[in-house]
C-alpha cells in the first residue's frame, strides 16, 4: 500500500515540485501521469527514499520512508528514468551486480539472472557488452533487473520512453507478468490504459485526479472531443468537449473523437492556458 500525507518538496532553488500531495493506494499497479515537470519523478524518488521530502510523510507497504528507510529500501526496487547501463558490462553482469547488491548470494544471483534473462528475451545477448545493444534492449536490461529483484514494490520511471512499439509491447508484457506491485510514471496514455489499475494525475505538484482508468472515463462517457474549434488550445489545435448527442452539429466540419485518457490529461494535466 502507498500512503502519502501532505507530501511537499521544495528544492534548494525554490522550485515547489510537490505541493501537499495526499492519497492512499492499494492497487497492484499505480500509474502517475502528468506533463514534464509535474512532479512525478520527484514523488517517485521520495517514495523510493532517494530524495527527502521537505514536509509531509509517506508509507510504503506500511513502512515510513523517513523512519524506516532501510526497511523500505529492502522491499522496493527503483529504476530511474535516466539510468543507463555500464557500456562495457553485459546484461548478465548487470543482473549479477544488482542482485548481489540486493543481498542475493552469488549462486542465487546467477540462477535468478539466468532465469530472468531467458524470460525477458535477453538470453541470446547475455554476454554482449550493453554498448552493442539497441535502445530497447538496454531498457529491457533494467526491467530485467527490477523483475529479478523480487521486490515487493517496483518503481519504474518512464520505463518505455524512447522504445519502438514492439519493444514497448514486450516491456508491457513483462511488467504485467510481475508479481510485485508496480508504481510507474509515463507520458503514454495507452501505457497507462494497459498497465494501470489506478491512475494518479499530478499537475504543478498537486494531485488533480485519482481513480481507475475506467472510473475516470466513466464520468465522461457521454462526451466526445471536437478538434478544430473550442476554447481549449493545445498547440495550434482548438479543442472542445461536447455531449455525444450534440456532436451531430460538428459532423463533416471538425474531427470528432471518443473520450480517452488523453483527454483527462488535456483537461487536468495542462496549464491554466489550456483549461
Amino acid at each position: 500500500m502507498i500512503e502519502a500525507k501532505d507530501l511537499t518538496k521544495i528544492y534548494a532553488d525554490g522550485t515547489k515540485a510537490l505541493d501537499s500531495i495526499s492519497f492512499v493506494s492499494s492497487s497492484k499497479s499505480l500509474t502517475l501521469l502528468g506533463k514534464n515537470g509535474a512532479g512525478k519523478t520527484t514523488f517517485m524518488r521520495i517514495l523510493s527514499t532517494q530524495l527527502e521530502p521537505t514536509s509531509g510523510s509517506a508509507l510504503v507497504e506500511g513502512y515510513d520512508i523517513k523512519k524506516d528507510r532501510k526497511k523500505v529500501r529492502k522491499i522496493v526496487s527503483s529504476i530511474p528514468q535516466e539510468a543507463k547501463p555500464v557500456g562495457i558490462s553485459s546484461p548478465y553482469e548487470h543482473l549479477l551486480m544488482y542482485l548481489t547488491s540486493r543481498g542475493f548470494s552469488i549462486q542465487e544471483a546467477k540462477s535468478r539472472a539466468r532465469e530472468v534473462l531467458k524470460e525477458v528475451g535477453l538470453w541470446e545477448v547475455r554476454d554482449k557488452s550493453t554498448d552493442s545493444l539497441s535502445g530497447g534492449m538496454k531498457r529491457k536490461v533494467f526491467v530485467a533487473m527490477a523483475l529479478a529483484s523480487d521486490a515487493e514494490v517496483v518503481f519504474l520511471d518512464e520505463p518505455t520512453t524512447g522504445l519502438d512499439p514492439l519493444s514497448r509491447l514486450e516491456v508491457w508484457s513483462i511488467l504485467k507478468s510481475m508479481d510485485s506491485k508496480l508504481v510507474l510514471t509515463t507520458h503514454y496514455m495507452e501505457e497507462a490504459q494497459e498497465l494501470a489499475d489506478e491512475i494518479v494525475m499530478v499537475n504543478k505538484g498537486r494531485l488533480v485526479v485519482k481513480g481507475s482508468p475506467s472510473s475516470l472515463l466513466e464520468k465522461y462517457k457521454d462526451m466526445v472531443r471536437i478538434e478544430g474549434t473550442g476554447d481549449i488550445k493545445v498547440g495550434r489545435t482548438l479543442i472542445k468537449y461536447v455531449k455525444y448527442a450534440d456532436a451531430t452539429d460538428y459532423i463533416g466540419k471538425y474531427v470528432i473523437k471518443p473520450i480517452s485518457l488523453e483527454d483527462l490529461f488535456i483537461l487536468f494535466g495542462g496549464d491554466e492556458e489550456l483549461t
Binding site: 523510493s48 527514499t49 532517494q50 529500501r73 543507463k84 547488491s101
Partner: protein, 216 residues
C-alpha cells in the same frame, strides 16, 4: 591504466635527465605514490560519470548497498587500476636497490592509505559537481596540487620548516615524507603518520556523510 602511468614515467625520465641520475631514487618512490594518488584523484571523473550520467548511485540506493560499501568498492576498483603502475615501480625500486622487504611493505601500506584518502576526496568533490563536465577541469588541476607541488619527486629536506607544515595539509606530502624516510632517502619522521591518518579519516568520513545517498 596507461594514462595513469604516463605522467609519472615522463617525470621519471625528466628528473633522470635533469639530475643526471642523482634524483632517480626520489623519482621512483615519487612515481609509485603519484600513480596511486593520481588514480584516486582522477577517479572523481568516474564517480561523477557513474552518478550523473549512468545514475548508478540512484539505482543502488534501493539496495542493501550503503555509501560505505559503494565508496570502498570504488577504492578497490582504483586499486585494480593502480596495480600495473605499482608493480612497475616496485620492480624499478627493487632493481635499483632502493627498497628491501620491510621498506617495501611500509611504502605499500602508505600507498594504500593514500589511495583511500585521495579516492575519498575524489568522491567528495564528485558529490558536489552539478555536471560531469566540471570533473574534467578539476581532474586536471588536482594532480598539480597533489603531485607536482608536494615533495614527491624531490627531497622533502629542501623545504623550509613552515613549508613542510603547510604542504602537509595535502596527504601526498605526509605520504612522500614517510616514503622517503622508509626508503632511506631522508630522515624517517613517523609523526607525519598523524596528518596522513587524520586526513584520510576526514576525507573518507566526509565522503560518506556528504555522498548524497539520499538527496535533500
Amino acid at each position: 591504466m596507461l594514462g595513469y602511468l604516463a605522467s609519472p614515467l615522463a617525470l621519471l625520465f625528466l628528473i633522470y635527465i635533469v639530475s643526471r641520475g642523482a634524483l632517480l631514487d626520489f623519482a621512483i618512490i615519487g612515481g609509485l605514490l603519484s600513480v596511486v594518488a593520481e588514480n584516486g584523484l582522477i577517479s572523481l571523473t568516474d564517480f561523477a560519470f557513474l552518478r550523473m550520467e549512468l545514475h548508478l548511485q540512484d539505482l543502488l540506493v534501493t539496495t542493501e548497498i550503503g555509501p560505505q560499501e559503494y565508496i570502498l568498492g570504488l577504492v578497490l576498483s582504483n586499486l585494480v587500476f593502480s596495480l600495473p603502475g605499482i608493480i612497475l615501480y616496485v620492480f624499478l625500486s627493487i632493481f635499483e636497490g632502493i627498497l628491501n622487504v620491510i621498506s617495501l611493505a611500509e611504502i605499500l601500506g602508505i600507498s594504500l592509505i593514500l589511495l583511500i584518502s585521495t579516492s575519498g576526496l575524489g568522491f567528495l568533490i564528485a558529490s558536489y559537481l552539478p555536471h560531469v563536465r566540471y570533473s574534467w577541469g578539476i581532474a586536471s588541476i588536482l594532480p598539480v596540487l597533489f603531485i607536482a607541488i608536494p615533495p614527491l619527486f624531490y627531497p622533502y629536506s629542501i623545504l623550509k620548516g613552515w613549508e613542510v607544515y603547510v604542504l602537509s595539509l595535502i596527504p601526498t606530502t605526509s605520504a612522500a615524507i614517510l616514503a622517503q624516510g622508509a626508503a632511506g632517502l631522508g630522515e624517517e619522521d613517523l609523526l607525519f603518520l598523524i596528518p596522513l591518518f587524520l586526513e584520510t579519516i576526514i576525507f573518507y568520513l566526509l565522503s560518506i556523510k556528504k555522498s548524497r545517498w539520499t538527496q535533500l
